[in-house]
């Protein structure tokens, strides 16, 4: 295993870093989280800038307008984006990381032509209509129904956790087209968000106002040609995006976590208690040292996976391992930050230079990580059944 970067990698990194040094400050401050139109303009504007600079769709194949970067380049991309404090993918997330990749794998030529270039240029925002109130960990239990009526599906039901629902242009929607089969009765549709019968209600979270909505669908008529993949084959279609998962999904966040630990050291140096700095508290220092080792080893897992994959071309099941380790670790780091703040943690905004926003508010955000996209409990089941061959549990009658 060689973890050094090749000369070509260094060239890539240098060019990206140079570009970011100019592009990031030029973006200005991100708008208020309450100003939805401004946020859309900000996020899609950044996507357009990436596109113009040749960095949009970093892991999309070149034939579909992506960068077609190597795995190592992709890793460098996330590292540099995080180090430069560049704007995140924001509301382009579903289109660039999820809907787009699904179309690349399973869409018709027409579907690809309609959406892929617009997603990459920041002209289309997508949202996700997967989860339902009674279909969370057990996603395949979804009940939103789609009934054929001529050349349309008539869709009725309720979705939850639809992020950016009220500013999105399209929704990747999972519907039930056959109620006699659980996994084999699901279809994957592209739903234009301007159709009649779609109601979006904001869903406040523990974080206060949020990016999430509930979506109510009443007799929404979606053309059959908007289906991706065969009817009732939607569960498989849903899983193809996993092919795009190359172990790099958490790379940017892990780099951020490394930076957070350095900030924690700085904060400890600046905090005094009982006439000594918190940095003098060896118990705290040791805890930071321990967490740093964990972050470094998770980062090493990502690099190892990328280096193996580059060699063998076969993606493993490592995604669940990294997800489980990283999300639990993330919560512990920001919980420690919150503890270190002492009573400044009673605020979620910075107070007197104490970084409550970056620690407390961030801690609250991390709480969803061990639930969303397969809870830690689900990940442990996946790991033990698929990687270690443990038998499934007996089913309920």
């Amino acid at each position: 295993m060689d973890l050094r970067y090749s000369e070509a990698d260094q060239v890539f990194r240098h060019a990206l870093r140079t570009w970011l040094a100019e592009a990031v400050p030029a973006r200005g401050k991100s708008p208020s989280i309450h100003d939805w139109e401004a946020r859309r303009a900000y996020d899609t504007g950044w996507q357009r800038k990436l596109f113009d600079a040749g960095y949009a769709g970093i892991n999309w194949p070149k034939e579909f307008g992506g960068r077609g970067a190597s795995l190592m380049e992709e890793l460098i991309y996330y590292e540099e984006m995080s180090r430069a404090n560049a704007p995140g993918v924001g509301m382009n997330f579903v289109g660039v990381r999820h809907g787009g990749p699904t179309l690349i794998a399973e869409g018709t030529d027409q579907q690809k032509a309609d959406h892929l270039p617009r997603i990459l240029r920041g002209e289309e925002v997508w949202c996700q209509g997967f989860s339902e109130p009674n279909a969370g960990s057990d996603l395949a239990a979804l009940r939103t129904s789609a009934v054929r009526d001529g050349d349309h599906y008539v869709v009725n039901g309720q979705k939850i956790w639809t992020s950016f629902g009220h500013v999105a242009d399209f929704c990747e929607l999972l519907v039930r087209t056959d109620s006699n089969s659980k996994h084999g009765g699901i279809s994957w549709l592209v739903m234009p968000m301007d159709l009649d019968g779609i109601e979006i209600r904001p869903l406040p979270t523990l974080h206060g106002e949020s990016d999430f909505s509930e979506m109510f669908l009443e007799n929404v008529r979606i053309p059959i040609e908007n289906r991706v993949g065969e009817e009732n084959d939607g569960w498989r279609v849903t899983n193809v995006t996993l092919r795009f998962e190359r172990g790099t999904a958490w790379a940017a966040d892990i780099v951020h976590l490394q930076q957070t630990l350095v900030s924690l050291c700085e904060l400890a140096r600046a905090t005094t208690r009982d006439e000594e700095t918190a940095w003098n508290d060896r118990a705290l220092r040791r805890e930071i040292g321990h967490l740093s080792a964990e972050v470094e080893s998770v980062w090493a897992m990502v690099k190892l996976q990328v280096s193996e994959l580059a060699k063998t071309g076969v993606p493993g099941l490592g995604g669940s391992v990294i997800k489980l380790a990283y999300t639990e670790l993330n919560q512990r780091v920001f919980e420690l930050g919150t503890r270190l703040l002492g009573r400044a943690a009673l605020s979620r905004d910075d107070v007197d230079g104490m970084p409550s926003l970056g620690m407390v508010d961030r801690y609250l955000q991390t709480l969803s990580l061990t639930i969303a996209a397969g809870s830690s409990q689900i990940q442990r089941n996946i790991i033990s059944e698929r990687m270690l061959g443990m038998p499934k549990e007996p089913r309920a009658n």
Binding site: N134, S137, L341, A344, A345, M354, L367, I371
Partner: protein, 305 residues
């Protein structure tokens, strides 16, 4: 208070009516001597009441009132509303005061003793987004001397009582979050069965119950000891209670949130209110780390005997 009321309360400022109700019930004068019109209860009874207040997430400067009502009986009647600041172990960082709005008087505990400062004499800035929506926080920048209320011995006693009443509220959080998690695990179905039939959930709940029971025992034992009805070192028992109940509050709230799954992330659901309150209580009257250090110091002292 049903849970819907908690959510509503979250957007309100100080609730004078609720406060008068609590005063009438005697909650604020538990520790006031009967001669002075209070209930004159011991800590053993006070912790039961405060566990219940914690379980229901009641807002307001409850602990400071209960502590000071012994010195200023007017507080027990709800006429004088006090909040406080623990400066017995000064640390850098902002001076954060809970429930400033509605309070007339600020009580300060420090190594010298107990002081009172009229809030009119102070300038305070409201924190816009407090961590706990039910615990509004103000920041003050300077602390005038104020009026001396009691000596350092009284101050130490009040601090110990404050630590234990906080532990009682933390116990209440551990109890409530176990209750909510239990009901939800029975109700919520995934994969065609209640999630409470999965071992992962079962075992989380069992660990939550153990923590709750440990916290309850530690809080009750510390209270009995403070009342002179126990046989142990009261300071060590109080630190034990604050540490164990603090850990139970935090971990049970965290477990409750995880068991609620996506629903745990929804504003109107109970778990996050408890988790946030747990953080507030952790930062009052000594953190877990401080109390662990205190226990080790006392244990180490007994080891040299």
């Amino acid at each position: 208070m049903p849970f819907e009321a908690v959510v509503e309360q979250a957007v309100k400022p100080f609730d004078g009516a609720l406060w008068r109700d609590l005063a009438e019930l005697g909650v604020l004068s538990l520790r006031t001597r009967e001669n002075d019109g209070g209930l004159g209860l011991g800590m053993a009874e006070a912790v039961l009441v405060f566990a219940e207040l914690g379980r229901r997430l009641l807002p307001g400067p409850l602990i400071w009132s209960a502590l000071i009502a012994g010195l200023l009986p007017e507080v027990g009647k709800g006429g004088l509303v006090v909040t406080g600041l623990d400066q017995t172990r000064p640390a850098s960082g902002p001076l954060m005061i809970e429930h400033w709005e509605g309070s007339n008087t600020l009580i300060v505990l420090d190594v010298e003793g107990v002081r009172r400062i009229e809030t009119d004499a102070l300038q305070a800035r409201a924190v816009e987004t407090p961590l706990d929506p039910l615990t509004p926080v103000h920041q003050i920048h300077a602390l005038p001397p104020g009026e001396r209320l009691a000596d350092s011995a009284t101050c130490q006693r009040l601090w110990s009582e404050g630590a234990l009443l906080t532990a009682a509220q933390q116990l209440g959080i551990a109890v409530a979050t176990l209750e909510y998690a239990t009901s939800y695990a029975l109700e919520r179905e995934q994969f065609d069965r209640p999630i409470g039939s999965f071992q992962a959930i079962k075992h989380m709940l069992a660990d939550m119950l153990v923590r709750k029971e440990q916290a309850m025992a530690a809080v009750y034992a510390a209270a009995a000891t403070m009342d002179g009805r126990g046989v142990d070192d009261p300071q060590r028992m109080i630190s034990t209670a604050k540490l164990i109940a603090g850990e139970a509050a935090h971990k049970n709230a965290r477990g409750c949130l995880q068991i609620y799954g996506g629903m745990g992330y929804v504003w109107e659901m109970p778990p996050h209110f408890y988790l946030k309150r747990a953080f507030v209580l952790e930062n009052g009257f000594g953190t877990m780390d401080e109390h662990a250090d205190r226990i080790a110091d006392r244990l180490g002292a007994s080891a040299t005997r």
